[in-house]
Amino acid sequence: MSSNAKLLTLDAGAWPDTYGEMAKPRMGFFTDTSICIGCKACEVACKEWNHVPEDFKGFTGKSYDNTLHLDADNWRHVAFIEQRLPAALDGDTATESLVQIAARRELEEDSGLDTLQEGEGLRWLMASDVCKHCSHAACLDVCPTGALFRTEYGTVVVQADICNGCGYCVPACPFGVLSKRKPDGRVWKCTLCYDRLRDDKEPACAQACPTNSIQYGELTELHERAEARLQEMQDAGQTSARLYGAHPDDGVGGFGAFFLLLDEPEVYGLPPDPVVTTRDLPGIWASTGAAAVALAVGIAAACIGGRR
């Protein structure tokens, strides 16, 4: 759909084109969940820096996760997944013989990349989720006021001084990142610490992260790092590793904040094939126009028909 492609390139054009010489390199996050220790420092550092209010959900019984989802009051969320694993730790190698598995395990351990407790057939996945700062961001597209905009760093930010709480971005986001804060009335989400970036400071979560699971930097450089890491794990036989949001040809044109996951995205509460809804907007406008014409015709028919 060439018209969509056109729309998307224009969307991307918001950065760097509209900033001219003020444009900065596109900054983002690479969250390597294979080294996340689930300490939640990112959640706390974020709330501290951005003065995000507390949000008590009580004891949820969902492993160590008492935050559950990203929303206006949680801009970082650490997911905890306790898994019993069969001998083979991923489906596509489920046919491995125990000997093959043992060999692969040895390889993994020597490489120091192993994060799985095969001995007990148990693993505990932890992953820090955050706004994806999509290359083609639905929230940004649908915002009627321009409260949401793409910054000179290529990130997507809600401007609290503009947002009037129309709530359109909330169902538009394919990741469910945004929501309205009560009683404030406006929507809030990760700004990738827009203000800190202005002073060349790391975003609060990335700076705090004890194991450097959250890595901040120029997106192009992060992509190289991630590819290398993936290859490393692949070579070590840790075949469950995958990159999520690192590819410009996915439904949102790639993420500004992408991930290395050890299982399918939906296991972490992430959509496996997110699509920016506005990719279909030309078609939607066409139908809307057609419907409007149909309505006009109907009215005309109703009136003129009466003459006969």
Partner: protein
């Protein structure tokens, strides 16, 4: 920790966190490092990404286990059996680092012929006196040393602690060598052979039977350790209170010390034992102690048996050889720092004015005196014992029996409000109107509101600067203590009472500053760091004199202000110095980061290998050099031989890395310094669902018990009624909270992340007891019953022990009746029963029962517990 002190000489971590990145294998045991020390854990992850193997031995699968290559579930309280099994594996398979062991440990030393092992005496070492319940340790000594190896030790009873028994007391050695040695390590009474016999029954099969760890898994751990030790490779141990909070806690650490000495992992990069302390200044408050049994720098508190005068005391409590040979220098310098001009050679430098200890005066002993009405006054400063200490109910009864209580904290903690919100009010055991305790609550300043230094887990002093003034009545402890001292001295000025002399002689005139008359913290650090008579600062502890011409508040800190510079406040970015970062803060002693680092070179002074070089002998310059400050006499050549009658460091050879010890060796076998034996032996926890398969003696015979109605004990296998409390219960911390919660349950963000007390149990136990995940469960012991949300998870596994299935219940202990998030207190479940060396309570292993649903309210909970005690036939002495 005396576990470290008696093995190597100093009671501190032998290495530093950043050095973990050099390890080839890291064993984390008795610690949940990723959860309790997340930022330190980054160095484990660094090592891992360099290919190191990470092994986590823990009853639960934790966030640490999730990052480990191997998690080994173990029955809480059986670590000595596991570690002893590794010792046995090393010796049986001849995997020890022979050259290291022969030169740097006391393996070759021949022990007194009177010595008998637990293997010979069914769980007792020689010297056991059933009357006193103590050991006469004279037969434990090196053969040929004088009879009273341990000085006044044998009469000192429970008062002696590892720190106090630092080094071998009064051990008289010529040329720093034991009188009898066997270089071949074949002599039946040489330490090596004794060790070999002692652990010969700690086989993989025994480990499986006792710890519930499959033989294969154990062998994998043992072999991985051996493969990653030697000239080319090193391994490290990390532990925390999962090892110390047992009735044999000190011996846990000793066992790890033995392994690391046999494998040659002490004093070398990537090796060592890293004690992970849980509080910002735990290490510091032991080095410069607020502890009853030691003075700053681990000098022992005077004891009547140790002699009436300075010289007798020094003679009785220190060896002549090794760094402790100069104890008089350190002691006199301390007395000069405290009593200034009043301390003279004529009056023994006021030594006579110091108070004496003659028993266990630790917190729990004091609590018992409070219950007996013998201790009317209590200061609690930045501490929350009614939540953080074992048997909280007993703690609260004690507080209710005081005349006055002073609590200083940043928040109004439960210890200050016990008289109105403790559970005993709910049960009717206490009534607010009947509690006569007068309570003063005084707001304290936070770390951002005062200057001062914390000593972190790796002995590193780091200065923190004041950012803002404390608000309202909030004051720092520095200001408060100084003020209290001034007021007392003012009121007693002119007193002729002998008891007031120490107080009036005290040097107590610090320059103050700021709106609150704050003493200058740097001035205090200067006093600690030491001065010459002319007021100039000492450079190192070797500068200290015994004639009163130097003053030094803590000899191990000598030089912390050298050159008039606050060494602890140095903040040179790590990016601008080598990986050891010697110019960031200051590590005691003498800014050494890996101690005993002379052992990183072979006896001739060359690095064991290029890969593991750290400190070595430089032939040209004729001095020790390397990445770190050499923990050795800088110009003492590797082939140095002491002359007869040399004392102190001069008496140690050029190949003796453990310069604090009288013989300069690492101690596989501790002839003195420990109450409960020269070698670690497996004893069951005080309360256990299993029998000790090794000896008839089930538990540590010296464990400290308190037999009183407030402190009943569950019967332990094989006693009748033990099965009324069939499960093991253990406590732990969560990343999101801090100890007793005063600093986390009051912080909204942290409270949100872990809002409720929960218990972690296996699906199998949940099924057995009909407990639903997410519902409430009630945990019962003979002390009390508490309720928690059930977190049913595969991360807790049932273990096969002695042919039975043993279930374990995990409980975080952060909650109490106060704060933003409230809950029952896990420590209320645990009894007072202590390690004999350091008087630390056993809260990492006890027995309990668990039921579905919430606990009864009010007095009904007492009935529930009474019913349990009746069914179990709990006998309470003193009732």
């Amino acid at each position: 920790m005396p576990g470290l002190g008696t093995s190597f000489g100093r009671g501190g971590a032998t290495t530093f966190q950043q050095d973990l990145q050099n390890s080839d294998v890291i064993v984390i045991q008795g610690s949940n490092m990723a959860e309790c020390h997340p930022v330190g854990f980054q160095w484990v992850m660094e090592a891992k990404q360099r290919g190191a193997k990470v092994i986590h031995v823990d009853p639960r699968f934790t966030r640490t286990s999730a990052m480990a290559d191997l998690h080994v579930p173990i029955r809480a309280g059986t670590d000595i059996a596991f570690l002893g099994g590794i010792v046995n594996y090393i010796i049986e398979n001849e995997r020890w680092f022979d050259e290291y062991v022969k030169h740097y440990t006391n393996a070759t030393t021949i022990v007194d012929e009177g010595f008998r092992d637990t293997e010979d005496l069914d769980g007792f070492f020689s010297g056991w006196d059933p009357e006193t319940g103590q050991y006469d340790i004279s037969t434990w000594s090196y053969a040929g040393t004088e009879e009273h190896t341990a000085g006044g030790h044998k009469e000192q009873g429970a008062a002696v602690s590892g720190e106090q028994a630092h080094g071998a007391h009064g051990m008289k050695l010529d040329r720093g060598r034991p009188p009898k040695e066997d270089e071949t390590m074949q002599h039946p009474r040489c330490v090596f052979q004794i060790l070999k016999r002692h652990y010969s029954r700690y086989t993989p099969e025994l480990v499986e039977e006792v710890c519930g760890i499959p033989k294969e898994t154990f062998l994998q751990v043992a072999e991985t350790l051996c493969q990653n030790s030697g000239r080319e490779r090193t391994g490290a141990f990390c532990y925390a209170v999962g090892w110390t909070q047992h009735t044999v806690g000190v011996q846990y650490i000793r066992t790890a010390g033995i392994i690391q000495l046999l494998l040659g992992n002490i004093g070398r990069p990537g090796g060592g034992i890293l004690a992970l302390r849980g509080h910002a200044n735990i290490q510091g408050s032991t080095d410069i102690p607020t502890l009853f049994n030691i003075l700053p720098g681990y000098l022992p508190m005077p004891h009547p048996q140790a002699g009436p005068d300075l010289d007798t005391w020094v003679g009785n409590t220190s060896p002549r050889t090794g760094a402790w040979g100069d104890m008089r220098n350190y002691a006199v310098s301390l007395l000069k720092a405290w009593f200034g001009d009043a301390a003279t050679g004529e009056n023994d430098f006021c030594f006579g004015l110091l108070p004496r200890i003659d028993a266990d005066h630790s917190h729990y002993a004091a609590i018992n005196r409070m219950l007996d009405g013998k201790c009317p006054g209590f200061f609690v400063v930045g501490e929350n014992p009614v939540v953080g200490s074992a048997n909280g109910r007993m703690q609260r009864f004690a507080l209710a029996n005081l005349e006055w209580l002073v609590v200083r904290d940043v928040q109004l903690i439960e210890t200050a409000t016990f008289w109105k919100d403790s559970r005993e009010i709910e049960t009717g055991e206490l009534k607010t109107e009947e509690i006569g305790t007068e309570v003063f609550f005084m707001p304290a300043a936070s770390h951002t509101e005062k200057d001062g230094s914390f000593t972190n887990t790796q002995r590193l002093l780091q200065w923190h600067w004041k950012a803002v003034e404390p608000e309202g009545d909030a004051r720092s402890e520095l200001q408060w203590t100084f003020d209290l001292g001034r007021r007392v001295r003012r009121k007693l000025a002119g007193s002729t009472e002998p008891r007031d002399r120490a107080l009036l002689n005290l040097t107590w005139n610090y320059t103050t500053q700021g709106p609150h008359d704050e003493p200058d913290a740097q001035e205090v650090l200067q006093e600690i760091g030491g001065r010459h008579a002319d007021g100039s600062f000492v450079e190192k502890y070797q500068d200290l004199k015994n004639d009163g011409s130097t003053s030094c508040g803590s000899w191990i800190h000598a030089g912390v202000y050298k050159g008039g510079v606050n060494q602890a406040a140095r903040k040179k970015p790590h990016t601008e110095q080598n990986w050891v970062a010697p110019e960031w803060g200051w590590a005691w002693p003498a800014n050494r980061h890996i101690i005993y680092n002379r052992a990183s070179a072979d006896p001739s002074g060359k690095p064991w290998s290029e890969r593991k070089k750290y400190v070595w002998w430089d032939e040209e310059q004729q001095k020790w050099t390397g990445y770190d400050d050499p923990d050795f006499v800088p110009d003492k050549p590797p082939d140095y031989q002491p002359k007869k009658n040399d004392i102190g460091l001069d008496a140690l050879r050029g190949d003796s890395p453990f310069i604090i010890q009288a013989d300069g060796r690492g101690w596989l076998y501790a002839p003195a310094g420990l109450m409960d034996g020269p070698m670690p032996t497996h004893y069951e926890p005080h309360e256990s669902p299993a029998t000790n398969p090794l000896y008839t003696q089930q538990q540590n015979p010296l464990r400290q018990r308190f037999n009183r109605p407030e402190n009943p004990y569950n019967p332990t296998d094989p006693e009748p009624g033990w099965d009324v409390f069939p499960y093991v219960v253990t406590t732990y911390r969560l990343t999101e909270h801090h100890t007793a919660g005063g600093m986390s349950r009051t912080v909204p963000i942290l409270s949100q992340l872990q809002p409720e007390l929960f218990c972690e149990i296996s699906p199998e136990l949940a099924a057995e007891r009909g407990i639903e995940h997410g519902d409430w469960a009630t945990i019962v012991t003979s002390r009390t019953a508490i309720e928690a949300r059930a977190n049913v998870t595969d991360r807790v596994k049932p273990l096969r022990v002695e042919g039975r299935t043993i279930h374990q219940v995990g409980l975080p202990y952060h909650w109490g009746p106060g704060g933003i998030v409230k809950g029952d207190t896990a420590n209320d479940l645990f009894p007072l029963v202590l390690d004999p060396n350091v008087h630390i309570q056993e809260v990492k292993a006890a027995t309990c029962d668990i039921l579905p649903g919430r606990r009864p309210r009010g007095p009904d909970v007492l009935r529930l517990v009474e019913d349990y005690k009746r069914r179990a036939g709990v006998k309470v002495v003193g009732e």
